[in-house]
């Protein structure tokens, strides 16, 4: 990914989120460790969450995530 002009706006540039230079294994490992963002199994409901259960009949309440 380069710091390049895109020409979309005068004097600005764009960072392309998708197009990236392929990293070497060492570089990828470094990025993974130093910029770690790893999802954990720790999840919680934050809303005033009433009726989380289906009120009328049992069953696989919701499609899985």
């Amino acid at each position: 990914m380069a710091k390049e002009k895109t020409g979309k706006k005068g004097g600005t540039y764009g960072i392309n989120i998708e197009l990236q230079r392929e990293l070497t294994p060492q570089e990828a490992d470094f990025v993974e460790k130093t910029l770690e963002m790893t999802a954990s199994a720790l999840r919680l409901h934050l809303k005033e969450d009433v009726a989380k259960e289906k009120p009328t009949k049992p069953g696989p309440v919701r499609p899985p995530r």
Binding site: V31, M37, A39, V61
Partner: protein
């Protein structure tokens, strides 16, 4: 009373070939949302999801009517309720049942059919009453699980209900409509309950459809199915051969196990995928896995078809095994429901469920390990139950908390009409303000409904309670509400407590003693409201901190630190995250954190605690390493905790809404050290990419756009 021919649509018989087509039939879905009147409750995700469910039974009946040339008008009662609840003028003027009746009357149908279940039966009855006043010439017909079992008292008490069609109506409803169109009395229709000389009478049951493959595809085309459809219900089959004492659906399908053929099912799944881009199928059958051989055949045909459908089903833990679970998972089973009912071996026998609980533990865990979202449902409040039985049930659920894909449910028993339990205790039922969640999920039930329930106990049994001589029902209700909230909001704290002392009821008892002055116990509805709201979360964290430090386990201490850190930053975010699918972020865009993204610096590693609890390992030194975590919203009401590195945290902290992409990248670049061929600029842009793709960040064009975004601008501290 059967309407006279001239009371029906006058051109009904003008064209004999089109007789049935000239009957105007309206079928009304079950109003499952009407339990909820409080806007705070009504707007919740759970209610909205329930309200949005496609009424499969109604569409199945619509399809068989289409086969005889009748295209019914379908009424989505939940949609009407949504419109009613958001119309203050309508609410001020009338009850929902009056409002619905007025709209139904305006449809000018000859026949109004209502699907019924126990919890909305009072609303259905009142709607039929108002409708009959407005359209006395129209026929009112009830069907479905509740009307089928309380048919005689319903007709005895409510003259505005003309007929009840009991059981499966795939064949009897078309016959009913055909006779109606021909001007004939439907009194001879099999499965009908009708009046003669004012007295209700029952015809013998209608023959049930044995070959479900012969039934048409439910009339999805008559219903506004969203595309892509997140979830589409589809009938796998019918009939559970078991005889649990609390269950009413086994008798509705006369315990005759039937399944559609795999080929038919797959054809239907293909068709619905083509038509609605279905992402998931809710395959409905009370007990799919009773015939292992046929489940295997279904899965194998599904696998051989090359489709990768995702689906869910219901099962018993003694009707699955490791091999079958693996096969089902491979064939796309992503969600499974198990009614465990009780964690007490003694109660398993008493209620005729008969599960081996060790086998249940093994198989539910296996399902989660195969990635299935596994719902485990239990019931408390059985008449023979003791506190030891309740403790065993809560313990069974507590063991499941360490599996993130396990959904634990704890319900209060409802004496469903026609069940062995209800029959046994019919003369001893109690009406109190502790009604079960199964019958009414709202916080408060309207007075008019309570009066109706009190006046007709032989129609509305499910709102009553069976005496529990060994248990305090108010305690049970509070336990249920406590568990519902804590298992979703403080799941790992509960898991940690259970891992430490093996008794979750001890936590509840301690909490109950501490919170006596906080929890409104006077009325059941107030107590339920308290446990559903933020205030409980705040009080529960205070309670945990107030406990003697020496009584806390190491896991609990770390989790408490996390909870307190979260509480310190938590705010009400009122908006949604903006789309995070931009391909290019312009350098002059501003960067802010998405709603519900908080960065927490912790003295200990809460994610490690969760790992150890999942693995059933004891605490070790690794939990005391300082950790940085970020929260992220994964569904509308659920956040996920992400472990992040110090450098990633530095990057996120630059994204406070005040800096542009260019400014953030250059400031961060200055803090990075090149490594090998990787430049500092590349490290900065990789950080941007990762954080954006992980949906921690939002990019927006001007400060004014940031109305729902970064923490600095969001709502009110809690």
């Amino acid at each position: 009373m059967w309407p006279k021919k001239n009371q029906l649509n006058q051109d009904l018989f003008a064209h004999p070939a089109n007789r049935t087509a000239s009957v105007k039939v309206c079928l009304s879905s079950i109003p499952t949302a009407t339990d909820f009147e409080d806007p705070a409750q009504f707007e919740s995700e759970g209610v909205r999801e329930t309200s949005a469910e496609i009424p499969l039974g109604l569409l199945a009946l619509a399809a068989v009517l289409e086969e005889i040339g009748v295209v019914p008008q379908l009424v989505d009662s939940n949609q009407w309720y949504i419109e009613y609840i958001h119309c203050s003028a309508a609410r001020a003027r009338s009850s929902f049942s009056q409002y619905a009746a007025e709209r139904l009357a305006a449809l000018d149908a000859d026949l109004y059919g209502f699907s019924t279940i126990c919890n909305s039966y009072p609303v259905t009855i009142q709607t039929a009453q108002h409708l009959k006043q407005l359209r006395p010439g129209a026929v009112t017909l009830l069907g479905g699980p509740q009307a089928s079992v309380v048919d005689l008292p319903t007709l005895r008490h409510f003259p505005f209900v003309d007929y009840i069609l009991r059981g499966e109506a795939d064949r009897s409803l078309p016959e009913f409509v055909t006779r109606l169109a021909a001007g004939l009395s439907p009194d001879t229709v099999p499965g009908i309950t009708y009046r003669r000389a004012g007295e209700p009478r029952r015809n013998p049951d209608a023959p049930m459809p044995v070959e479900l493959d012969d039934l048409p595809l439910p009339a999805f085309h008559l219903y506004p199915v969203e595309t892509p459809a997140r979830s589409i219900p589809l009938e796998l089959g019918r009939g559970c051969p078991f005889g649990c004492t609390f269950c009413s659906t086994n008798d509705f399908f006369r315990r005759r196990f039937r399944l559609k053929s795999p080929a038919k099912l797959i054809r239907e799944m293909e068709l619905l995928t083509d038509r609605y881009a279905a992402e998931y199928f809710d395959l409905q059958h009370d007990m799919f896995t009773v015939d292992r051989r046929r489940v295997v055949a279904f899965c194998e045909v599904l696998l051989a078809s090359g489709h990768r459908f995702r689906w869910g089903c219901s099962a018993r833990t003694d009707c699955v095994d490791a091999e079958l679970i693996e096969l089902m998972a491979r064939a796309g089973c992503a969600s499974i429901f198990f009614g465990i009912e009780s964690g007490s071996a003694r109660m398993q026998k008493i209620i005729d469920k008969g599960l081996d609980l060790d086998e249940s533990r093994r198989n539910t865990e296996l399902c989660t390990r195969h990635g299935m979202r596994t719902t485990v449902s239990t019931i408390i409040g059985f008449p023979d139950e003791t506190m030891d039985d309740v403790r065993a049930t809560v313990s069974f659920l507590a063991e499941g908390l360490r599996e993130p894909e396990m959904i634990t449910q704890l319900h209060l028993l409802a004496p469903l009409a026609g069940t062995p339990l209800e029959s046994q205790y019919r003369d001893r039922l109690l009406l109190e303000d502790i009604y079960t969640d199964f019958s009414h999920s709202g916080w408060v039930q309207a007075d008019r409904e309570r009066r109706l329930i009190a006046a007709y106990p032989d129609v509305f049994q499910n709102f009553y309670a069976i005496p529990t001589p060994h248990l305090d029902r108010r305690y049970l209700q509070e336990l249920r509400e406590f568990f519902l909230r804590t298992s979703s909001r403080f799941r790992w704290m509960l898991a940690a407590w259970y891992a430490g002392c093996g008794d979750l009821l001890a936590l509840f008892d301690e909490w109950r003693a501490w919170s006596r002055a906080l929890v409104p116990h006077q009325r059941g509805c107030d107590m339920r409201r308290y446990y559903a709201m933020w205030g409980f979360d705040r009080d529960f964290v205070r309670f945990l901190r107030a406990r003697p430090a020496e009584s806390r386990s190491e896991f609990e201490s770390v989790l408490l630190e996390f909870e307190e850190a979260l509480r310190a930053v938590l705010r009400v975010d009122t908006g949604d995250a903006p789309p995070s699918n931009l391909k290019v972020l312009e350098s002059d865009m501003r960067l802010g954190l998405n709603p519900h993204v908080y960065v927490l610096h912790l003295a200990s590693d809460v994610t490690r605690v969760v790992e150890l609890l999942r693995a059933q390992q004891p605490a070790d030194a690794s939990i005391y390493h300082p950790a940085i975590v970020a929260t992220r919203r994964v569904t509308e009401d659920e956040i996920e905790v992400i472990k992040i590195s110090p450098l990633a945290a530095e990057f996120l902290e630059l994204c406070d809404g005040s800096l542009t992409v260019d400014e953030v990248l250059h400031r961060f670049e200055a803090r990075c050290t090149p490594v090998g061929t990787l430049t500092a600029w590349e490290i900065a842009t990789r950080a941007l990419q990762k954080a954006y793709k992980t949906k921690l960040l939002r990019a927006y064009t001007t400060q004014a756009d940031n109305v729902t975004g970064g923490r600095a601008l969001a709502g009110v501290a809690l």
